[in-house]
Symmetry: C2
Subunit: 109 residues, 2 copies
């Protein structure tokens, strides 16, 4: 098993509330992406909308993937004032979430 050096990835699946206007969702996503400029340990930020053809999304509509330099950096993000402030604002608009932090690993086969 080969573990990527130290970096930690966070995957967050979100279903936004139906009553949140689409342009408000877009604004929140823009602000979310801006955390990469505000939190030093946050190295990459990407998002995507569900485009699968198998309909196994369980209602989730958006995915966010963040990369931190290491576990310490992920922990620093969690308590960073810019993250906490953003979390306060996006929280009320999320109907459902699931989130995993992990060290991406592959195998030699």
């Amino acid at each position: 098993m080969e573990e990527a050096k130290g970096f930690v990835r966070r995957v967050l699946l979100v279903k936004f509330k139906a009553e949140t206007a689409p342009d408000h969702v877009e604004r929140l996503i823009k602000d979310y992406s801006n955390l990469v400029n505000l939190v030093k340990s946050l190295k990459t930020w990407h998002m995507g909308k569900d485009a699968s053809i198998e309909n196994l999304h369980e209602g989730f509509t958006h995915v966010f993937e963040l990369t931190f330099e290491d576990a310490k950096g992920a922990a620093a993000y969690v308590v960073h004032p810019a993250h906490l402030e953003f979390h306060e604002r996006i929280g009320p608009h999320m109907e459902k979430t699931a989130m995993i932090d992990y060290k991406p690993t592959s195998f030699h086969t």
Copy 2:
């Protein structure tokens, strides 16, 4: 908004059944990783176990991230015999799943 060229990422969150023995889970994961050798359009395969400190995983314990060369490649994977055969074997061991296919996108901020 900047969209990654053509490539498509699949994120799958899984909670395995409690009655599936850990070494059986490990064997299934190994077989899963081997699909990268069997399905041409599957370009990368990584997995990880939840290591978050915020306990927002909703019971999911594993994440799998696959990358396809494009949407056509993702569609080819879905119906590929090696994928279908593996799906038959892993299916009964999964208590809960959530899956999203997407084109990773970032913003210039």
